[in-house]
Symmetry: C2
């Protein structure tokens, strides 16, 4: 059985990353979301075990400090802890599922160090103005939180060049198509194929 | 201005390569077909300068033997000469156009030796039986020509593993989507980008 592919997706809050991710996951069988652990409070509509595993800080730190470590990557963002469980990722890859990790630039760097074969994708809004407008529309941000997010976005964008693919989300449908295309193309790459079985069987 | 990408497409006669190519070219602005030179007779409906530059053997050999050589690659297939003009390819790449070369496995090897950055794609029918049926439907082949094509197809398939991407054309629409996805994904790869201009301009 083929081993699954590991996709890393980063992009600032307001880049449209979540909307794009859900559209892509809904239409691509065999691609699954890796559910992260976090200490932050659920937003309205978010479900435990679906959007995140919501745990408290003590439980997070215990998992992080276990030997061997329980997280493939972890990071503190906006004062909250986020982490990707090793067990969840390894289990799904072994089942042949392709996994999508939605993580920040620090997390991406940690995962790429352990999984250099991972396929990294950065989604960014077309401009700072577009990002500010999207965050305002979301209307869950205080002015302070918004300023923090805009500043973090600028810092994250400095790392965009380290990713294999860059999607500029100027128009949602095109961004979704771009993301799907990357997944389809990476699946067709022959360096992924373990052997020539499909061809040799029928010829 | 960005330099165009060079896509190499190979696959046996009857693989559906031409149908797929035309569907993709019609829907992807910025991607153009490189028109090959050939000494073979036009098939019904084929136009000189559009499907091929149809030239006689003497003219082909004169272009081939010019110093420096007038062909990026050339080959003898089914007793006929086929070649890709250097001038045509270089001119289009410099204009920023992405070029699609529809060439056989020998030609692909020659182009990859000079352009290792070229993106190679192999299209194959799902089985030998499917290929035979498609050639029979075409109904332009004599029994001898058909046997030759099937034999050549088996030989070409031995080189399929040398290509970066493999598309198994079991279902036409999926094969077209696969091909388009490869082009979109390759365009989004950041190693292609000459600089960070688009991002830095708006941030």
């Amino acid at each position: 059985m083929n081993h699954g592919l590991l996709f890393i997706l980063s992009g600032p809050s307001g880049s449209g990353k979540s909307t794009i991710t859900h559209a892509v996951l809904d239409s691509m069988p065999g691609l699954v979301f890796s559910v992260s652990h976090t200490t932050r409070t659920p937003r309205p509509g978010e479900k435990d075990g679906v959007d995140y595993h919501f745990i408290d800080r003590a439980a997070f730190l215990a998992l992080r400090d276990r030997q061997p470590g329980g997280f493939l990557e972890w990071a503190e963002v906006h004062g909250q802890l986020y982490g990707t469980s090793v067990a969840e990722v390894q289990g799904k890859l072994r089942q042949g599922l392709d996994i999508l990790l939605d993580i920040d630039v620090q997390g991406a760097r940690q995962v790429l160090a352990r999984h250099p074969e991972a396929i990294s994708i950065f989604i960014c809004p077309p401009s700072a103005q577009a990002l500010a407008e999207r965050l305002q529309r979301r209307a869950t941000e205080s002015p302070e939180s918004m300023a923090l997010r805009l500043n973090n976005a600028r810092q994250e964008l400095e790392h965009a060049a380290d990713y294999r693919y860059l999607i500029v989300n100027a128009e949602l449908e095109s961004a979704i198509t771009a993301f799907k295309s990357i997944i389809i193309a990476e699946r067709l790459q022959q360096r992924r194929a373990a052997d020539g079985t499909p061809l040799s069987q029928s010829w």
